[in-house]
Amino acid sequence: MIEIRNVSKSYAGKKALTGINLTLPQGEIVGLFGENGAGKTTLIKCILGLLPYSGEITLSGEPITRKNIERLSFATSEHSFFPNLTPQVHREFYKEHFPNFIDKRFKGLMDFFELPMRKPLRAFSTGQKNQFEVILSLCQGADYILMDEPFAGNDVFNREDFYKVLLGILEPNETVLLSTHLIEEVSGFIGRAVLIRQGRIVGDSSTMELEESGRNLMDYVKQTYHYRGDRVGNALNEIRGEEGQI
């Protein structure tokens, strides 16, 4: 279980995260939602120890250090692979550094997405790069797979394939924390939604609870964010009205 207790983070005096408290038990697929700059990426980077923070983040009760970091993997739209290397060399690199690397899964996913094994990643399309980034995170052998906008740049069919593959291959002990804007797309795939706004957790609900209350994920997000559906219409009317006056 990952436990995040009272985590705060500031960039040059500006608060990016404020008193975050969150628990991620094993075996869940959790969606992390929020507008740009809400603090999703910062939170994930804090969990991974890539950013300093105040507060406490533990993994099975232990602080996250080099001793247990291999239990976390990371897929990011910024890409964390080596562009000059081929997937085959990445495979060897991961095998060397992550003893639990799941080679069979790697081979299977590479074949499924028809990614070339011996072509440098810099020659891949953006979609292929994203696929490979996610494949690496799924095959590292980690218990917690943290994904930060991993499908930015992939087409809808490709993303759909990935969600299905994810649901199919994840073991019961594997947890996914998926930060994304694609709320509707992932609604049928996640088991829990965590909403973050201006560096604070403003919503945390399982999809089952939402179903029971008769709401869907999009309604929940809009409600939590106090989304005003009439805002656009009003703005357009104002603009049109002004144009008319001119």
Partner: protein
């Protein structure tokens, strides 16, 4: 030969093309050594000043009370080229770290490897070895120049220390 090359890449940032770095270092080392060889020009010139040419006998005659300039004066900054090369290697260390943020953020992967030293090992090792080579070359050249100075300078012209 191929195996040796592969081994070298294990000590460099993954995917980095080492060829340009090796070429740069080799060329820099050659130029630095050539620059240091200016010692011989200074030495030969100083040594020639110890003699006077006798036209009558067509021989060189050692000047009475001629004294060879001190070894350290002749040395001058023989090490300057090597020092510049070593500074370039320090800059290379910075480049190796920056490399992990170019085109992708492989720094994220390197920083979450179970091996704490993997990133530093790959960024530091080769430039530090290059700096060590510069240092060793400087010492070898110093010994070579000192040997030359002592062996080829007439004993009576050596400065008493």
């Amino acid at each position: 030969m191929k195996k040796q090359k592969l081994d070298l890449t294990r000590w460099a940032p993954p995917g980095l093309n080492l060829k340009p770095e090796i070429k740069f270092f080799a060329a820099g080392l050659v130029l630095a050594v050539l620059y240091s060889f200016l010692f011989f020009e200074r030495y030969l010139s100083a040594r020639a000043d110890l003699y006077i040419y006798s036209y009558s006998s067509s021989t060189r005659v050692l000047l009475p009370d001629a004294v060879m300039p001190d070894f350290y004066i002749l040395l001058e900054h023989y090490w300057a080229g090597l020092a510049v090369l070593a500074v370039c290697m320090l800059a290379l260390i910075i480049y190796h770290y920056v490399y992990h943020r170019q085109d992708s953020k492989s720094i994220y992967l390197m920083r979450r490897l179970p091996s704490r030293w993997e990133l530093h090992r790959r960024c530091l090792t080769l430039p530090l070895i290059a700096i060590l080579i510069c240092l060793l070359t400087a010492i070898i050249l110093l010994l070579l120049f000192y040997g030359t100075y002592n062996v080829f300078t007439p004993k009576e012209c050596l400065m008493p220390h």
